[in-house]
């Protein structure tokens, strides 16, 4: 009798600890009949650590019996173009999950990641950088969403050599693209109860290009009077980001940088042009715990592609791949974002809760978070922590 009650007591304690994180049931989600039918998702394992981390997602989805099935396609960074059959598959499924595609530095070959975004017109890239309990960083209360214009700006890919030794690179900014990214940022803020949108720019130098971007942001801001809007120059943004990141909420940027911060508010949305967005997102990711844990996605009018939030230094280094120690957390959280996008909120919640529990326990963490586990060990821990 004593033994059984002790066992029961310790099970109860374990249950209590387990339920300390997440797992409070909210009001039930009421689906339409047929919503539970399995959805197809195009899966691109990619290069480097890609195959490892996408495999991790597949395993966890299977363990949850999530209503998704994956159609896997091999795409590698050294291909000239993304194969047409892959694009067809994404157009059919509307959703894709991918690992990174290795981009050769220089050499005039355009990045396949960028190509994919342009083909499918995934004009908004989103990275959510936030502190995870169990992963102490220098700053607390970081919760930044960087929304970056994904198709133009410095990433237009238009370069030419004027004369030997002189290269011209074109940064193209259009009202059309600036407006739609600003609209997406404010809509995101509105739908996710965010208080501030900040536009990151360098309009003091690039008066016409970034000036156009800012004008579009200001126009859209007038349609959302309850959301605070401000602007910040990108270099100052970098500095504020490393000293007071808790001031930022949603940031919108053209392709380069995304920063924005609301004073005295913990969540921020930033909207940025393309290149700034890239830098800001990576900086924010580094601040909040590293690229191994930040989720993200790219979305357009018709399709969505989910991948790790911030780049893993192109595709991570070979040692990580050999020793199978890549961090699957970022892609697991991105796949949770994907599940919400597909309207499977309780699967998304379960996945996120399990991942957060594993991080908070601290027992199974990969090298980039200060641990010694392999990818597979982290995956097993996540599966074990699923409700």
């Amino acid at each position: 009798m004593g033994g059984r009650s002790i066992a029961a007591g310790s099970m109860k304690l374990k249950g209590m600890v387990k339920h300390a994180i997440g797992s409070g049931r909210s009001v039930t989600y009421m689906p339409r009949p047929g919503d539970g039918a399995p959805r197809g998702v195009t899966l691109i394992p990619g290069d480097g650590i890609g195959p490892l981390v996408t495999r991790a997602v597949e395993q966890v989805m299977e363990a949850m019996h999530a209503p998704v099935y994956f159609e896997r396609y091999e795409v590698h960074g050294d291909m000239k173009r993304v194969p047409e059959e892959v694009l067809e598959s994404i157009r059919k499924n509307k959703v894709c999950l991918k690992g990174g595609l290795k981009t050769p530095v220089g050499g005039g070959v355009s990045s396949l990641n960028v190509q994919l975004r342009k083909e499918l017109d995934l004009y908004a890239s989103l990275v959510n950088c936030f502190n995870l309990p169990g992963l102490p960083t220098r700053h607390h209360n970081v919760d930044i969403v960087v929304i970056r214009e994904n198709t133009e700006g410095e990433y237009s890919g238009l370069e030419h050599e004027v004369v030997p030794g002189v290269v011209e690179s074109l940064k193209v900014m259009t009202k059309f693209c600036s407006e739609r990214i600003a609209k997406y940022a404010f809509e995101y803020a509105y739908l996710n109860n965010r208080k501030t949108v900040t536009a990151v720019h360098k309009a003091n130098i690039m008066k016409l290009a970034d000036g156009l971007f800012l004008e579009s942001c200001r126009q859209v801001a007038t349609k959302y009077p309850s959301i605070r809007y401000n602007e910040i120059i990108v270099d100052n943004c970098c500095m504020q980001l490393v000293s007071k990141p808790e001031r930022f909420d949603v940031m919108v940027t053209g392709n380069s940088l995304r920063f924005s911060f609301p004073p005295q508010n913990n969540d921020m949305n930033n909207v940025t042009p393309n290149l700034y967005g890239n830098l800001v997102a990576n900086t924010a990711a580094g601040i909040a715990g590293g690229t191994g844990v930040m989720p993200g996605g790219n979305v357009g009018g018709d399709h969505a592609v989910f991948e790790q939030g911030a780049s893993a230094g192109n595709v991570g280094n070979e040692k990580l791949v050999e020793q199978k120690e890549a961090n699957p957390v970022a892609l697991l959280l991105s796949s949770a974002m994907m599940l919400r996008h597909l309207r499977f909120p309780s699967f998304a919640d379960r996945l996120e809760t399990a991942v957060k529990r594993v991080i908070s326990e601290g027992k199974y963490m990969t090298k980039d978070l200060g641990g010694v586990s392999t990818t597979q060990e982290v995956v097993h821990a996540v599966i074990a922590n699923l409700d």
């Binding site: 100052n236 970098c238 500095m239 830098l279 580094g286 192109n314």
Partner: protein, 146 residues
């Protein structure tokens, strides 16, 4: 010539930003084009504490730019100063660089030590260093330390 004794590496700018905030000790000297340099130098400044503590050698120009949002509110030394935020530190440090350039090393050392002692004492610190002193108070403290 010391070829072969300096290690050369290349890093993609987004990865660099991330590595910087996680472990700045990884880097020694960085060279990069204009826009990236603008951002990374301000990022470094944020990491060490404030733009005012970072010295740039661009003809002894203060590093933090012109801060157009607070311009015109109580000018300090030159038009680069803003009493509200008291960025006097950077500028005085620039004077040191300039003095060294003119071979007035002992004077430069004098000023530099005065600045370091004032900051170490902690009694007069401007807003960007976490204190409440105005430019003029901070400057007077430096003068006292000379």
């Amino acid at each position: 010539a010391v070829n072969g004794m300096i290690k050369y590496e290349e890093v993609v700018i987004d990865n660099c930003c991330m590595m910087f905030v996680k472990n700045p000790a990884l880097f020694d000297v960085l060279v990069m084009p204009n826009l990236y340099g603008d951002n990374i130098s301000d990022l470094c400044a944020g990491l060490v504490g404030a733009a005012t503590l970072v010295r740039g050698i661009a003809l002894a120009e203060a590093v933090y730019g012109s801060a157009p949002d607070i311009a015109g509110k109580n000018m300090g030394f030159e038009c680069l100063f803003h009493e509200k935020f008291g960025k006097s530190n950077c500028f005085t440090a620039e004077w040191c660089s300039m003095l060294r350039h003119l071979n007035l090393h002992d004077k430069a050392d004098l000023i530099q030590n005065a600045i370091l002692n004032t900051i170490a004492e902690g009694k007069y610190q401007t807003a960007d260093l976490g204190g409440k002193a105005k430019t003029i108070e901070f400057t007077n403290a430096i003068i006292d330390h000379l």
